[in-house]
């Protein structure tokens, strides 16, 4: 392993949170070409299946995490982890914030069709969303966005890795069926 690679390995080992490649490069005081070569060597070394820990690209940076195959053993040593219980309403609200951010509470409510005040407060308390200032509209409502914790919990290197919202669109057939169902009652009553 190259000396620079070992330095990267040490920095990532010691860091309690993901470290961006820019921070790593600045700490190494190395030129970009050597840095890129060392980073590639490190990724190969800690790719899935080689060690008990693997290198993951998460939340805008790199971090070591326990390999999937070793999770059960680690759990016996460290105890079971209990991730947050996220209800369907919270996940729905989180999806709207993630795709529309920065967004306001009113916009979230408009998409979901219900008040989202509690859900947004809960997401902020859980560190999955945070306030991003205020909108430049009458009333200056608070703007919300997702956090690095959201990226970590959902296994995302960055927001660009979210699937395109267009991929979840209803097909033309589904939209026509929905429209027909909504208007069926009125159509029966048309003179």
């Amino acid at each position: 392993m190259l000396d620079l690679t070992r330095s990267l390995e040490a920095m990532l080992f010691i860091s309690p949170q993901p470290v961006s490649t820019a921070e790593l490069c600045a700490a190494c005081v190395a030129d970009e070409a050597h840095f890129a070569e060392s980073l590639k060597e490190l990724r190969n070394e800690y790719s899935a299946g080689r060690h008990g820990i693997e290198l993951a690209e998460i939340a805008g940076g790199l971090a070591f995490r326990v390999a999937g195959a070793c999770e059960a053993t680690v759990e016996r040593l460290a105890g079971a982890r209990r991730p947050d219980d996220l209800s369907p309403a919270l996940v729905e609200t989180l999806a709207v914030v993630a795709y529309l951010q920065p967004t306001t509470r009113a916009e979230v409510a408009q998409v979901r069709g219900v008040s989202s005040e509690w859900a947004l407060s809960s997401l902020v308390e859980r560190g999955l969303a945070d306030e991003r200032g205020r909108a430049d509209t009458p009333g200056a409502p608070i703007l919300y966005g997702t956090t690095d914790r959201f990226l970590t919990l959902f296994g995302l290197p960055d927001l660009e890795q979210l699937p395109e919202i267009g991929s979840f669109a209803l097909s033309v057939r589904e939209t026509d069926e929905l429209r027909a169902r909504l208007l069926a009652n009125a159509a029966r009553r048309r003179p």
Binding site: I14, P16, P83, A98, V111, L178, A186
Partner: protein
Amino acid sequence: MRRTLAAALTRPGSLDDLHFDLDVFDGPFDLLVTLILKEEVDLWEVRVSRIVADYALRLAESDEFDLEATSHFIVMVAALLEMKSRRLLSDGALLDEEEFAEVEEAGEELAVSLTRYTQFKRAADGLAQRYLEHAGRRYRGLPVPERFLRVVCDERRLPADGLVDALTVLLAAPPAPDVSHITDLALSVVQELCRLRELLDRNGQFTFAAVAPRDRLEKAVTFFALLELHNRGEARLHQSGAFADIVVRRLDGPRASSEDDALVAVG
């Protein structure tokens, strides 16, 4: 549901002594149900919640609990509720073209909203799946060891009397703030009420922006006076859009007396 209710009425005795005093009916419960079935009492006017609340009070006050009677009551109330909810759906009357156009437009809006919601619901389902896969992954959770911290704090000990000196400063009462620059409002609501009334008498109408003082507090006082004029039926307020200027027009009608104006001042 009507058959359920009719059949329930034929069962002997258990609800005979249930008497309800509602806005549209005062009498025994089984008579109320009979009249509803015969459509002599409009179901829309019957507050089922009141019936349930009264029954619950009776149960609480009674020493005995008749399971059969209560079950019978629940069946009848459930039937009434279902009949009432079914009436929320169309009654089958035909729509004219204008009504149909309105319904069609509302349906289109609802279709657009539902389409958008379904899209995000599917995205949420995808996120939920990711969460199940990734939320349990373990990352390094320990803090950086102290020896690697960028900044190391001095370990000088603070003498005890240093703490006392620090606390003494904190516990000393701060000087009273100088408020001599803050003056009372020059305007009162009553004065503004009179001024706006005179403007209306003279000109018939004005806009709020044209008559409001520049000072924010005084502007608020003028706005309260404007609202009072409106509440008394002396003026009509109109705004063409959100945050647009307010046009105030005089309404002819009986004027308030100076005693009423004085009551406004008292609040």
